[in-house]
Amino acid sequence: MNCKKAERLIPLAAGNDLSGKKAAALLIHLERCPDCRKEAAELEHALRAAKALAGGDRTGDWSEAEWLNLMRNVRAAGIQKKRVWAEIPLKPVVVGGLGLVLLVFGSLLLKKSPAPVVTRAAFESPSIEQAAPKGIDGQPGVTSRTIVSKETGLKIIWFYNKNFQGDGFGK
C-alpha cells in the first residue's frame, strides 16, 4: 500500500469503518510510514474530540407538558384524519362521482339543438299587391318577389322575366 491509498483509508480507519483486510493492510503501512502514522493519530484524536464535544453538548429536551401536548396533537391529527376519511366510503363515492361526470358528458354530447322545422307558414309571404305593384299601364308589373323566413331571417327573392319565368336566390 502506498501513502496515497493510505490517505484515503485513514479517515475510515479512524472510526473503525474498514473491513479486516483493508485495515490490516493499512496497519502494515502505518508501521512503516511515520507521516501517515501521524495523520492517523491526529484524525483519531480529532474524531474523539468531536464526539466529546457532542457528548458535552446538551441539546435539550421537551418539558413533560410539552411532550404530552405534542403527543395529544399527534393523536388528534390522527383522529381527525380518521373521522374525515374513515366514515366516508371512498369507493362508492369515487365510482358515483365518475358515473355522474360520464352522465353529464353523455347528455351534453347527445343533446342536439332541434332542427328548425321549415313550414310554409314560417315564411312571410307578401300580398300580391305588395309583390306585384301596378305598372304604368295598370297591368301588374311583377319583376321580383321576396320571401323572408320568420325564424332564420333567410330572404329569398324571386326575379321574373317577361315570360314570368322565375329565377330565385337567397340572401
Binding site: R8, P11, L12, A14, G15, D17, A41, E42, L43, E44, H45, A46, L47, R48, A49, A50, K51, A52, L53, A54, G56, D57, R58, T59, G60, D61, W62, E66, W67, L70, M71, N73, V74, R75, A77, G78, I79, K81
Partner: protein
C-alpha cells in the same frame, strides 16, 4: 425491529392510538438532538421533530414491520430537516445573525455550566459548519448518533459507498478545523 416495537406498531395500526407514545418515547431525545445539530436552533429543532412524529403517525401504515423502526423514524427526521432547511434557506442571513444560544438548556442550570455548554456548542457548530449538508448528515449519524454505515445509508436513502465517501471527507475536514482552531483538543486527546 424488536418485539416490543412490533407489538406497539400493530396496536397503533389496530386503532390503539395511545400506543404511539411508548413507541416513539425512546427516540424522543436522540431525534431532538439530531434535529438540534442539523438546524442549530432549539425552536426549529422542536418544529422538525414535531413534524417527524406527525409524519411517523400518519404514514405508520406504510412502514414495513420487518425493517428497523429506528432507521425509519430517523429517515423521516432527516427528510423533515431537509425540507425545513430548504424552506428556511432564503432567511439564512437573518438566521446566522441570531445567536445560537437559543438552543435549549435545562431550566435552573447554573450560569457557569450554561457558559460551558455554550462554548462546547459553538465549537461543535464551528466544526460542523465546515461540512456540506450531506457530509454533516453522514457525520452526525455515524459518529455522533453511532449508527453503522448501512444504517446511515438507509436513513439517508443512499448507498453505503456514498456514505463512506462523505464520511471520509467529513472526518478530514473536522480534523483540519480542530487542528487550526482548537489544537488544545488534540492535545487533550493524547
Amino acid at each position: 425491529m424488536n418485539d416490543r416495537e412490533k407489538t406497539l406498531v400493530e396496536r397503533v395500526l389496530n386503532g390503539d392510538l395511545a400506543a404511539f407514545e411508548p413507541l416513539v418515547t425512546p427516540y424522543r431525545k436522540p431525534l431532538l438532538g439530531l434535529a438540534c445539530r442539523i438546524t442549530r436552533n432549539s425552536e426549529d429543532a422542536k418544529e422538525v421533530a414535531q413534524e417527524t412524529f406527525l409524519r411517523a403517525f400518519k404514514y405508520l401504515k406504510s412502514f414495513d414491520i420487518e425493517k428497523e423502526f429506528k432507521s425509519w423514524i430517523f429517515q423521516i427526521l432527516v427528510r423533515a430537516a431537509r425540507n425545513y432547511r430548504h424552506k428556511q434557506s432564503k432567511y439564512e442571513v437573518l438566521a446566522m445573525s441570531e445567536p445560537a444560544k437559543a438552543m435549549a438548556i435545562a431550566p435552573g442550570q447554573d450560569p457557569e455550566r450554561r457558559h460551558d455548554g455554550d462554548e462546547i456548542r459553538s465549537r461543535l457548530s464551528d466544526c460542523l459548519d465546515t461540512l456540506t449538508p450531506r457530509e454533516k448528515e453522514v457525520f452526525l449519524l455515524r459518529d455522533i448518533e453511532d449508527m453503522n454505515i448501512r444504517e446511515s445509508a438507509r436513513v439517508l436513502g443512499c448507498s453505503a459507498v456514498s456514505v463512506r465517501v462523505h464520511l471520509s471527507a467529513a472526518r478530514k475536514k473536522i480534523r483540519v478545523r480542530i487542528k487550526e482552531r482548537y489544537p488544545e483538543l488534540l492535545e487533550d486527546g493524547r
